[in-house]
Symmetry: C2
Subunit: 197 residues, 2 copies
DNA sequence: GAACCTCCATACGCTGGCGTATGGTCGACC
DNA sequence: GGTCGACCATACGCCAGCGTATGGAGGTTC
């Protein structure tokens, strides 16, 4: 018989965590309870381990936060952009991007939580990188719609503020948003307005 | 000689705080450091007093938060609405409202901090009240511009998300916004788009 | 099979903030 | 000018979470 890579005789046989595991858990915690929820001991409990593990992989809490944010900045934007790029029609592309982005923001509150803690240096840095990338991309989409350069950028920015504000509202006062049935129509109209010449 | 109301012989002669003083200090603290910054002992230091004073006026920290939020909900919306109502031209009224609102949001970060903590029950309640009132008012303005009822509400909501998103950006990534010179032009264009038929 | 290295467990001290208890001060009033 | 009540100071116990120290448990290597 071939040798087994990881022990699988005993079912609960010491998972052996990595720094990534901790970073992911931290991201989850941010989504649930904000940056303040990134607390070593509670996380250790959720991961079924102890602080001993954590302080092996990281110097301190701050290093964990930094790692988690870097991971977030890498993943969550490029992923969606490349997904949207598949759609050839530029108008539909905008619509697709916003549909996806808003849906994503509605399901989890990670982004909102991060915006909440923009005072923290590492968060500020991650937000800056991500925001600039996104606004630039949306501006690019608007340029593809035929808007001349400076206006494309302004419209892109406007559209991004709509997204942000929407995410905020969905999180803080969901009752203020149109109900699910009307939502698609609302979004259509909103984007029509934004893309109007 | 007339009698003096408050002692003013000694310069630093025991101010004697009220519950209002504590609530205002709490609001200031929220603006600076979020809800987490509402901490009794640090606030006591800033007010030049001790916890003894606080626990005389309030049952606990939560009661302070509630009082502060109620005060905020009362003041910050109606004040601006009645200020804007002075302007007769409806189009200019919208423009004035947004100019003021954005300026106000840019200077302080109280609103953003509150949105950040929407999970807290008292905050959620205050936000709901304030948001519904505001969206309703903006919708009213759009109705005044000639939009039929359901669309006026949708446009009002859209405009409010723009405001919110803008406030967020101004707080988290100010570098993404147009610089001061171009800002008025940007706002003009944005509102033109929002009010376009 | 012994040394070794990686990873984790446990115990400890420390800090900041909450809430309580109890006594002190100062003006108002009689 | 003593009493009373409103307001505040101080001291205390408590808890959560950070970071450190130190001692294993297991796999790896020779």
């Amino acid at each position: 018989m071939a040798m087994v890579q990881r022990q699988q005789r005993k079912p609960a046989a010491k998972p052996r965590l990595t720094a990534q595991d901790w970073a992911d858990a931290a991201l989850t915690a941010i989504g649930e309870g904000g940056l303040a929820a990134v607390a070593v001991e509670p996380l250790a409990v959720r991961l079924g381990t102890t602080k001993g593990s954590f302080y092996w992989h990281f110097a301190n809490r701050d290093a964990l936060i930094e790692a988690a944010l870097n991971r977030w900045a890498e993943l969550h934007t490029e992923e969606m952009i490349s997904e949207v790029e598949a759609e050839p029609d530029p108008r539909r592309r905008v619509r697709l991007l916003f549909g996806e982005a808003i849906a994503s923001a509605t399901s989890g509150s990670l982004e909102v939580s991060l915006l909440a803690t923009a005072a923290h240096p590492h968060v500020a840095d991650a937000l800056r990188r991500v925001t600039e990338r996104r606004v630039a991309y949306v501006a690019e989409l608007f340029a593809g719609l035929g808007f001349p350069e400076p206006e494309a950028r302004r419209r892109g920015l406007l559209a991004y503020t709509v997204y942000l504000g929407h995410a905020q509202l969905g999180h803080a006062v969901p009752s203020a948003l149109p109900v699910a049935d009307e939502f698609d129509a609302y979004l259509d109209e909103a984007l029509d307005v934004l893309m109007m010449r």
